[in-house]
Symmetry: C2
Subunit: 90 residues, 2 copies
């Protein structure tokens, strides 16, 4: 598994859209807080591999391309351990 | 916006992996509860358009292909209004 503490030091770029706490800064970006680390890793690797087009892939793929497997595991661990917020609005 | 009540009647297939309450039945599937409706719509439309390859796209694209824009809006509204659960494990 990834190292959430190490992941905290690797999310400066991510935090711009996904927040330091994994709550998205705009509703076009997904919340990451409390999402499963396994899923977050698979999504980041899909972006890194260019398996996702459209949407934010133009932004996400270059970001993910710079990440090693260890970085991805650490970042996924960090966000998966953040507490989701819920305002009932959806 | 979508109609969450109508969405509840359209998620029998989704619930198999994402749960009736939006909490994934396995950690390879994303939790949907409390995710923003806008993001959920964009993800479903990306699967429907074939903009996502790899991962679960082989499963998700045929599912999404059967959905109208209204179905997608309703399903997104429904899951966005479910309460996320968090066990701190990540």
């Amino acid at each position: 598994d990834g190292d959430a503490e190490a992941g905290k030091g690797k999310i400066s770029a991510c935090a711009a859209c996904h927040g330091m706490n994994g709550i998205a800064s705009a509703d076009i970006y997904p919340n990451l807080a409390g999402q499963s680390a396994t899923y977050l890793e698979s999504a980041l690797k899909a972006y890194r591999a260019g398996d996702r087009k459209g949407g934010m892939s133009a932004m996400m793929s270059p970001q993910a391309a710079a990440l090693s497997d260890e970085d991805i595991a650490d970042i996924a661990a960090y966000y998966s351990q953040q507490t989701p917020e819920f305002d009932g609005e959806g």
